[in-house]
């Protein structure tokens, strides 16, 4: 029997929320002003995808999107460590962007065939919006592929990207990136639900204003 759709939705939503949160931190400090604007749009899109997925899940779980996004404990998030890493240098940031976008394409393509029509529909919408993200990621990848900083960052983050996907989707990711699948031992601690320390730190900052008022306060 397939898992309740809320589970699939929360995995997607938590990935996009946490990644979007980290990427929104570049607003104002990206390498060029033009890139700053473009990158911020991508971060906003990710959060928008998260919101849409949370809304669907919230309907099933009898809550609302904001409560799912902010009011769970860090341990309850269903995101993968790739998105939880706090990367404040451009090489790592753009390497992650490229790796995540490629992995996300594999994941979303699979979700387009989801037995649940609403999930499939949401995946189709996300897929269409991410055409821009893919173009952007490819553009940077092309430009920086020979830059040692970028290559090293990709190497470092590659196991995290692999671990983000269920096993059956990993070969497709390897094909698309042209990278070899790492041995399972290198994927330890990087799998979905295995959180890294940065997640709790991020959650603290992300929820500090919200927690300063009683639950249900309006903002």
């Amino acid at each position: 029997m397939p898992a309740p759709r809320a589970e699939r939705l929360l995995e997607l939503a938590d990935d996009e929320l946490v990644l979007g949160w980290h990427e929104s931190e570049w607003t104002g400090i990206a390498p060029t002003l033009e890139e700053d604007v473009a990158f911020s749009s991508i971060a906003q899109n990710e959060i928008g995808h998260a919101r849409a997925a949370y809304e669907l899940a919230a309907a099933d779980l009898g809550t609302d999107a904001d409560a799912l996004a902010f009011d769970r404990r860090p341990e309850e998030y269903r995101c993968a460590p790739l998105v939880e890493l706090r990367l404040l240098d451009w090489a790592h940031t753009i390497a992650r962007r490229w790796l995540y976008e490629t992995a996300d394409e594999v994941r979303v393509t699979a979700l387009k065939d989801d037995p649940d029509a609403e999930v499939a529909g949401l995946a189709a919408k996300i897929d269409r919006e991410e055409a821009y993200h893919r173009m952007h990621a490819e553009m940077w990848h092309e430009r920086l592929r020979d830059e040692p900083r970028f290559r090293e960052a990709v190497e470092e983050l590659w196991p995290y990207a692999v671990a983000l996907l269920p096993e059956k989707l990993r070969p497709e990711l390897a094909t698309r990136t042209g990278l070899e699948l790492p041995s399972n031992s290198l994927l330890q601690g990087k799998g979905r639900g295995e959180h890294v320390a940065e997640l709790a730190e991020m959650w603290d900052e992300m929820t500090m204003v919200r927690r300063s008022a009683p639950a249900g306060a309006q903002w």
């Binding site: 060029t32 033009e34 553009m139 430009r143």
Partner: protein, 91 residues
């Protein structure tokens, strides 16, 4: 490179110069112009042109009185008044 951005606000409208982005090639120019000039839905289309590809034209000679080519070269008020008066007298 400087890329000039022309935007079309709604289908059927002319492309108007909107600004410019600094980008190394057309791909980056597109990625960046899309968001700078379209993220709030303000454009349905863009033309991106390297500044060097634009040929500016800014001066014309106007030595002789060529009023017949312009609207202000025609002053019909006085004659129209006269024609109307004549037609009124005849009718």
């Amino acid at each position: 490179m400087i890329w000039e951005v022309f935007r079309c606000e709604r289908k059927g409208q002319p492309f108007e110069h909107a600004g410019s982005v600094v980008a190394p090639d057309g791909e980056f120019a597109e990625a960046w112009a899309r968001e700078q000039y379209g993220r709030r839905g303000e454009s349905v289309a863009l033309w991106l042109v390297p500044r060097d590809a634009i040929r500016p034209v800014t001066d014309w000679a106007d030595e002789f009185d060529l009023k017949y080519r312009r609207v202000d070269g025609y002053s019909i008020k006085a004659r129209l008044k006269e024609a109307r008066e004549r037609a009124g007298a005849a009718g």
